[in-house]
C-alpha cells in the first residue's frame, strides 16, 4: 500500500471540518470507534448544511409537494393525468406529467460562492451541475434559465463579475447545446460581497422512462463514468488549513473547478443512449461531495450498501489519497448501477463517445458503505445513519429589531413626482429595469429548434418534441422571479409575490401554471434574524404554492451568503413552469400590431413601498411591499389562458418593477418592431402610484376585441378597463382631462433602455477581457 500521511482524527480535526461537538459525539456513537480520516471527511460533507439541509429541513417539510387532489399512492406512469407529480423533492430533480406520455423534469440550483471567486468557471460549472441533475433522470435537457445578482455596476469588480458570469453561463450552455431561453438579472448593494448565480434547467422524458438515483439489486455493478478525478474542489480547503498539511498540499488543491462542456455534451448523449438500452438500474451525478454523496444517496434510497475499490477510480493527478478521491468535486462525472452482466456492454457504449467507464464496485445487502484502497478497508460505515439520519436542527428564530423601521413609510411625507417624463427615463436607465439584451444575446437561445418565445418576453415558451424529434402541440412556459427588496421588507409577502409574479409571467403566454422549483438564497442560518427571514419565506412559499395549485417539486437552499457579517437580502428565487396545450395559440409580451385596444387587468392601488420609483427618485428602500391577492391571481391565470386560447389576447404583459409606465414602454419596444401606444388614465391616485406603483395582479393586454375580453373579465371577476390603443411611434400617457404626463419618442426611450447596461459596462472598459478568456 502506498504511504499516506494522514492527520490523526480527533475532536479538534472534526471541528476544523465544520462538525459541532455534538455531531462528533454522534459519529463516535454511530461507529463505536474513532472514524478514519476518509470517514471523517465523509461525515463532514454529508452532514454539511449543503448536503444535509440540517437547518432548513423542518421548514421545507411544510411545503406542498403534490398536485391538488393527487393521492398518496404511486401513479401509473405513461398515462398519468396532466399535472401529476411523478417525482417530488429528494431526487436529482422533480417530475410532472404533461400529456402525450411525457413528463417535464426541472430544478434550480445555486453556484454563488464559486462564481464570486472565479466568475466564468464558477457559473459554467453551475450550469453543468444542474444539467446533470436533469439528464441523470433520463430527460433530455431542453431549456435553461439563469438568475444572477451583483453589486452596483459602478464597482469595476462587479462589472468584471457580470462579464465573467455571463461568459461562463453562455460558454457552457452554448457548447452543450441547451438553449438558455430566459433569466433574471438584478443589482443591489447587498450583493457586493456575495453575488448570486442560480441556474435552472428543464428536460423532457417519457413518463415511463424516468430514472432514479438508486443503487438497487444486490450484486449489481457500480460503474464510474466521465472525467477522471482530480484534486479540485475538495471541500473547504479553508477548513483544512491545519498543521497536518504542509503549505504546499493546500496550495495545490484548487477549490474552484474548471468546466468541460464538451465532455458534458458527450455524457448527455451517451447516458441517454445507455438509459434507453435497459441496462441501467440507477444513475446519479457526482455533484457536491462527489463520489461520497452520490454513492451514499443511491444506496440509501434503495436500502442497500455499496462496496467500492477506490483504486479503480480513474485519476487525473498522481498521489491522490482516498480522502481526496472520496471528496473531490471534479466535474462531469456520473455514477451508474447496471444490471449484472451488462456492465461490459455499458462500458463499450460509453467508449463510443470516448468516455471512460469503469466498474468500481457493486451493490451489497448489508447496508454499509465499504471502501477499499489497495486492499485495505478505509471506510466502513452504515449508510442510513449518515445519509438519512443526518442532524436536523430547529434553529432559533428572532424578528429583526429594526423590522418596524424598514417597513415604515409615511406617504404623506414623500414629495410628489413633479416630472413624470424624467422619472420614466430614469427608471428606463436603471440597471434593474433596463433591457438585459446585452446579456442574453450572448446565450444560444435557439438550439434544439423549440424556442417560440426566447429571452425578452415575460416567460420563455418552448415547444415540446418527442425524443425522436416528432413535434407535439404542447409547449412549456417558464419564468424566474424574485424581488429581493420586497423580501427584505417582508420575507413572507415578498416570497408570495415572487411566486405570484412567476406564475403570472407564465400565464401571460397563455400557459397554465403547473408546478414550481425554488432556490432559497439566505445569510447564515445560525443568526436567528436570518432564520426568521427563512422561515417566513418558506411559509409564504407554501401558502402561495397551495393557493395557485403549483406544487413544489424540487429546490435548493443556499445559506451563508454573507461577507463580514453582512448578509444579502433574502432572495428566494422562484421558477414556475406552465403548460400550453396548443403551442400555436400563445400570446407575446409586446404589441403585435397598431390599432389594438389596450386593456389593463387588475387593480392599481396606492402602493409605493419597496418600489423602484421610491428607490430611484427618493433614495428610499422602505415600506411594505404590495399585497398579493392569491385568489385574484388564480382567477387571472384562468382568464389569460382562456382569453389566449379564444384568440382574444394577442399581447399580455405583466405589470411589475417600475409599474404601469415601464410595462407600457416594454410592450412598445420589446418586439421585432417598435409600436407606440396612447393611454389615458384616471388620476384617482397619487400620480407616482398610478404610473410607477407596483401593485401586483395586473396585466396589460393588447386585443382586437376589447368588448369580448371585457365581458370575459367581468365574468371571471377580474377588474378590467380599456386604457388606450396601440400605434404610432410615441408613448403617450395622460389624463382624461388632457394633461400629458408622459410623451416620448419610442426611438429615444428605447435607446435609453437598451443602452443602459452596455453603456455602464463600456465606461469601465478595462477589467473586461482579462482572465475571463478561456479559449
Amino acid at each position: 500500500m502506498s504511504v499516506r500521511r494522514e492527520p490523526s482524527v480527533d475532536l479538534e480535526l472534526a471541528r476544523e471540518h465544520g462538525l459541532s461537538d455534538a455531531e462528533w459525539q454522534r459519529i463516535l456513537e454511530l461507529l463505536g470507534r474513532t472514524p478514519t480520516f476518509p470517514e471523517l471527511g465523509i461525515f463532514s460533507v454529508m452532514w454539511s448544511e449543503h448536503c444535509s439541509y440540517k437547518s432548513s429541513r423542518i421548514h421545507l417539510r411544510t411545503l406542498p409537494t403534490q398536485a391538488a387532489g393527487q393521492g398518496a399512492g404511486p401513479v401509473d406512469p405513461g398515462s398519468a393525468a396532466v399535472g401529476t407529480v411523478l417525482v417530488g423533492p429528494g431526487e436529482g430533480a422533480g417530475a410532472v406529467a404533461i400529456g402525450a406520455g411525457l413528463a417535464v423534469i426541472f430544478k434550480i440550483e445555486s453556484h454563488n460562492h464559486p462564481s464570486f471567486i472565479e466568475p466564468t468557471q464558477g457559473a459554467a460549472t453551475g450550469v453543468g451541475g444542474i444539467l446533470r441533475d436533469i439528464f441523470s433522470m433520463g430527460a433530455r435537457p431542453i431549456a435553461s434559465l439563469d438568475s444572477i445578482r451583483f453589486g452596483p455596476l459602478e464597482d469595476p469588480k462587479h462589472r468584471m463579475l457580470l462579464r465573467g458570469v455571463v461568459r461562463g453561463i453562455g460558454g457552457y450552455g452554448n457548447s452543450v447545446g441547451v438553449a438558455t431561453v430566459g433569466g433574471e438579472t438584478s443589482f443591489h448593494e447587498c450583493y457586493r460581497g456575495n453575488i448570486l448565480v442560480n441556474a435552472f434547467n428543464l428536460g423532457i422524458v417519457p413518463q415511463d422512462a424516468i430514472f432514479l438515483g438508486q443503487a438497487a439489486g444486490v450484486g449489481n455493478p457500480v460503474v464510474y463514468v466521465g472525467s477522471k478525478t482530480g484534486r479540485d474542489g475538495i471541500h473547504g480547503a479553508s477548513l483544512l488549513a491545519s498543521a497536518e498539511f504542509d503549505e504546499q498540499t493546500d496550495a495545490k488543491r484548487p477549490t474552484v473547478q474548471v468546466g468541460d462542456p464538451f465532455t458534458e455534451k458527450c455524457l448527455i448523449e451517451a447516458c441517454l443512449e445507455a438509459m434507453r438500452s435497459g441496462d441501467i438500474v440507477g444513475i446519479q451525478d457526482m455533484g457536491a461531495a462527489g463520489l461520497t454523496c452520490s454513492s451514499f444517496e443511491m444506496a440509501s434510497r434503495a436500502g442497500t450498501g455499496i462496496e467500492m475499490e477506490l483504486d479503480r477510480v480513474p485519476r487525473r493527478a498522481a498521489n491522490l489519497t482516498p480522502y481526496e478521491l472520496l471528496l473531490s468535486e471534479s466535474q462531469e462525472r456520473m455514477l451508474l448501477v447496471t444490471r449484472q452482466g451488462a456492465e461490459q456492454r455499458v462500458c463499450e457504449q460509453f467508449a463510443r463517445w470516448d468516455l471512460e467507464a469503469v466498474v468500481v464496485g457493486r451493490v451489497t445487502e448489508d447496508g454499509r458503505m465499504k471502501v477499499r484502497w489497495h486492499g485495505e478497508t478505509v471506510v466502513d460505515i452504515p449508510v442510513d445513519p449518515v445519509a438519512e439520519n443526518a442532524p436536523c436542527y430547529e434553529r432559533p428564530i428572532r424578528v429583526p429589531a429594526e423590522l418596524g423601521e424598514r417597513q415604515k413609510l409615511d406617504l404623506a411625507s414623500i414629495e410628489p413626482e413633479s416630472d413624470p417624463q424624467r422619472a420614466l427615463e430614469t427608471l428606463l436607465d436603471a440597471p434593474n429595469l433596463a433591457s438585459k439584451a446585452w446579456i442574453w444575446r450572448q446565450y444560444d437561445s435557439l438550439v434544439q429548434g423549440n424556442t417560440v418565445i426566447g429571452p425578452g418576453g415575460d416567460a420563455a415558451l418552448v415547444r415540446v418534441k418527442h425524443e425522436d424529434g416528432t413535434p407535439t402541440d404542447l409547449a412549456l412556459a417558464m419564468s424566474v422571479d424574485c424581488n429581493p427588496r420586497w423580501c427584505w421588507l417582508d420575507p413572507y409577502q415578498g416570497t408570495i409575490a415572487a411566486v405570484a409574479e412567476s406564475a403570472r409571467n407564465v400565464a401571460c403566454s397563455g400557459a397554465r401554471p403547473l408546478a414550481l422549483t425554488n432556490c432559497l438564497n439566505f445569510g447564515s442560518p445560525e443568526k436567528p434574524e436570518i432564520m426568521w427571514e427563512f422561515a417566513e419565506s418558506v411559509r409564504g412559499l407554501g401558502e402561495a404554492a397551495r393557493a395557485l395549485g403549483t406544487p413544489v417539486i424540487s429546490g435548493n437552499v443556499s445559506f451563508y451568503n454573507e461577507t463580514r457579517g453582512q448578509a444579502i437580502f433574502p432572495t428566494p428565487t422562484i421558477v414556475v413552469v406552465g403548460l400550453l396545450d396548443d403551442v400555436q395559440r400563445h400570446a407575446v409580451s409586446h404589441w403585435t400590431a397598431p390599432g389594438l385596444a389596450i386593456v389593463l387587468l387588475g387593480e392599481t392601488r396606492e402602493e409605493l413601498g419597496g418600489s423602484e420609483w421610491l428607490a430611484q427618485r427618493r433614495g428610499l428602500e422602505v415600506g411594505s411591499p404590495p399585497t398579493v391577492d392569491l385568489a385574484h391571481e388564480h382567477r387571472l391565470h384562468g382568464l389569460l389562458a382562456d382569453g389566449v386560447a379564444a384568440g382574444e389576447i394577442r399581447t399580455a404583459h405583466d405589470v411589475a418593477d417600475g409599474g404601469l409606465a415601464i410595462a407600457l414602454a416594454e410592450c412598445c419596444f420589446s418586439g421585432p418592431e417598435r409600436i407606440g401606444a396612447r393611454v389615458t388614465l384616471d388620476p384617482a391616485l397619487r400620480l407616482e402610484a398610478l404610473l410607477f406603483g407596483e401593485s401586483t395582479g395586473r396585466v396589460l393586454v393588447g386585443t382586437a376585441d376589447a368588448a369580448a375580453l371585457l365581458a370575459r373579465a367581468a365574468a371571471a371577476g377580474i377588474p378590467a378597463q380599456r386604457i388606450g390603443e396601440t400605434g404610432g411611434a410615441r408613448l403617450q400617457i395622460g389624463s382624461r382631462a388632457g394633461t400629458a404626463w408622459i410623451d416620448g419618442e419610442l426611438e429615444r426611450l428605447a435607446a435609453i433602455w437598451s443602452r443602459a447596461l452596455p453603456r455602464r459596462l463600456e465606461e469601465g472598459e478595462g477589467a473586461p477581457a482579462l482572465a475571463e478568456e478561456t479559449s
Partner: protein, 81 residues
C-alpha cells in the same frame, strides 16, 4: 521593449483543451505526446528600455489583469527588444 508572458492553468486544475489536444495527437499517430497543457501567451509591447521597469510593470499586470490567481499561474517567458 517586448515581454512574452505565459498564463497556464495551475497544475491540479483540469485543462480540458489540453486533454483534447493530447488525444487528437494520439489519434493522429503521435503517441509519444503524453501530455498537453494549453495556456495563453501575451506579447506585450512596452514603452521603456529599462528591463527592471518592464519587469515590475509586467508583474503587476499579471497579478491584476492577465491571470486569475485562483486557477492560473503565470510566468514571464522572456523579454525582447
Amino acid at each position: 521593449m517586448k515581454a512574452v508572458v505565459c498564463v497556464m492553468l495551475k497544475p491540479d486544475v483540469l485543462d480540458p483543451q489540453g486533454r483534447a489536444i493530447q488525444r487528437a495527437c494520439v489519434t493522429l499517430g503521435y503517441d509519444r505526446v503524453v501530455d498537453v497543457r494549453q495556456g495563453k501567451v501575451f506579447e506585450i509591447e512596452l514603452r521603456t528600455e529599462d528591463r527592471a521597469t518592464a519587469e515590475g510593470l509586467v508583474r503587476e499586470l499579471c497579478e491584476k489583469l492577465l491571470a486569475n490567481g485562483v486557477i492560473e499561474d503565470w510566468r514571464i517567458e522572456r523579454f525582447a527588444d
